[in-house]
């Protein structure tokens, strides 16, 4: 489903914690780039190694981020959901997903095309800076959480 027409949808995007409070002109530009998407349970939002050309802004649902190998069963290392964002690989060359992302609850999201977003951020460096100030804490928090998981604090 693709719809950029409903004001309710746009309002939901504007109220998203990741976007709330951004420069209104920047926010409007982001909203114009957004496409409403829905995913069923077990449907993939991303596949490891595939071209990564979208940022998902999650409005509802839950997504499992999975890593695996041919000789190792998939392991869910994190879930993300409403109020969070999914995907940073669109921002960094070579623009390929570094993990699988699978819906574990029905997902309602905004999909923003990565190339268009990169162009927008390049053309408006002040918006680009605002965006990175929002995005880096998300990455930093996930890195810190991964470090804690590596400690395996519940092991003997």
């Amino acid at each position: 489903m693709s719809s950029r027409t409903t004001e309710d949808f746009r309002e939901a995007v504007r109220r998203h914690p990741f976007l709330e409070g951004l420069d209104p002109a920047f926010l409007d530009a982001m909203v114009r780039l957004g496409v409403e998407r829905r995913f069923r349970v077990d449907e993939h939002l991303a596949r490891e190694g595939a071209p990564a050309n979208v940022l998902y802004i999650l409005l509802d649902g839950k997504v499992a981020l999975e890593v695996g190998a041919a000789d190792h069963p998939a392991l869910t290392v994190q879930t993300v959901g409403a109020g969070e964002v999914l995907g940073w690989s669109w921002l960094v060359a070579p623009y390929r997903w570094r993990f699988d992302a699978r819906a574990v609850k029905p997902v309602h999201a905004v999909e923003i095309e990565g190339g268009a977003l990169r162009r927008l951020l390049s053309e408006h460096p002040d918006w680009g800076y605002q965006f990175l100030l929002r995005f880096l804490p998300v990455l930093a928090e996930r890195l810190e959480n991964t470090r804690i998981q590596l400690l395996d604090i519940h092991a003997r």
Binding site: K62, R102, K105
Partner: protein, 288 residues
């Protein structure tokens, strides 16, 4: 000299030697996970230890092996105690091998539990990691029995994997309750798990509470408690209303041996539940 030290007059030890255990019979043994067992024990005679307050611990004595401090995960008026034990050492291995009818020694209860009196009228944020859930379960029982005494109650429980979740049936029943919200998360999972994955702090943004009138009770691995305490304080909970249950090498349990010293406190006597306000300066000090 031990006899010169006045034990807690409410303790079973007051009836005799401060370190003397009372005999209890193992009534039931339940396997929670591959390495975790829940023991239900009852007094072998008319003498029993006093009713423990939520968060207190007892010393369980596996005869011929040794003692270990174990939190109380439930108790009943008839003196029955419930303990969940993780098989990680000689004593806990021996406790985990007990079968119905066996005898175990009990002394206590010891220490300071969760400050439920102070928490009345407030929202409660309860965060448990792994074997941190058993010492917090009596808090939930108190909440269920006196629900009108507390505001919003939010529970986060984290474990290593789905197979490491304990009290699984009870968790399901808690999730069906409308008077509290519980979130369960694991550090890693296979594709057959449709719940949350991530450390407990990742669930905090979803938790709703009024920080200025909230008490936070946290129990789990020390680093988890430190990060969770930091996160709830950042959300507005006062450090003096943020409580963690410390685990140290309690031996005597009556503040004599010093094994459990943590900074200026003896965890067995001053804790195990201590305020984050008091602990904060020491929690990140590796040498303590």
């Amino acid at each position: 000299m031990l006899a010169d030290v006045a034990p807690d007059p409410t303790s079973s030890a007051a009836a005799g030697h401060p370190l003397a255990p009372l005999p209890y019979r193992v009534r039931a043994v339940a396997t929670e996970t591959a390495d975790t067992t829940t023991l239900t024990i009852e007094p072998r005679s008319t003498r029993s230890v006093p009713a423990p307050a939520p968060g207190q611990f007892v010393m369980l004595y596996a005869f011929g092996v040794g003692e270990s401090p174990i939190g109380v995960s439930a108790h009943r008026a008839d003196g029955t105690l419930v303990h969940t034990v993780r098989n990680v050492g000689k004593v806990t291995s021996a406790l985990a091998r007990l079968t119905p009818g066996d005898t175990v020694g009990v002394r206590g209860p010891y220490g300071r539990g969760w400050p439920l009196q102070e928490a009345r009228g407030q929202d409660l944020v309860i965060v448990a990691g792994g074997l941190g859930l058993p010492p917090l379960r009596p808090v939930l029982y108190e909440v269920f029995e006196n629900r009108d005494r507390y505001g919003r109650v939010e529970v986060i429980y984290g474990a290593r994997t789905p197979k490491d979740l304990i009290y699984y049936e009870e968790l399901q029943s808690w999730r069906r309750r409308s008077d509290l919200r519980i979130q369960v998360t694991v550090d890693a999972a296979g594709r057959d798990w449709y719940g949350d994955v991530g450390v407990v702090t990742t669930r905090l943004p979803d938790v709703r509470f009024d920080g200025s009138r909230t008490s936070a009770f946290i129990c789990g691995p020390e680093i988890m408690m430190r990060l969770t305490a930091q996160a709830v304080v950042a959300r507005g909970v006062r450090p003096e209303a943020t409580w963690v249950s410390m685990e140290r090498n309690m031996k005597c349990a009556v503040a004599l041996c010093g094994h459990c010293q943590f900074g200026p406190t003896f965890v067995c006597r001053d804790g195990p539940v201590l305020s984050y306000r008091a602990l904060e300066p020491f929690l990140a000090v590796k040498e303590v």
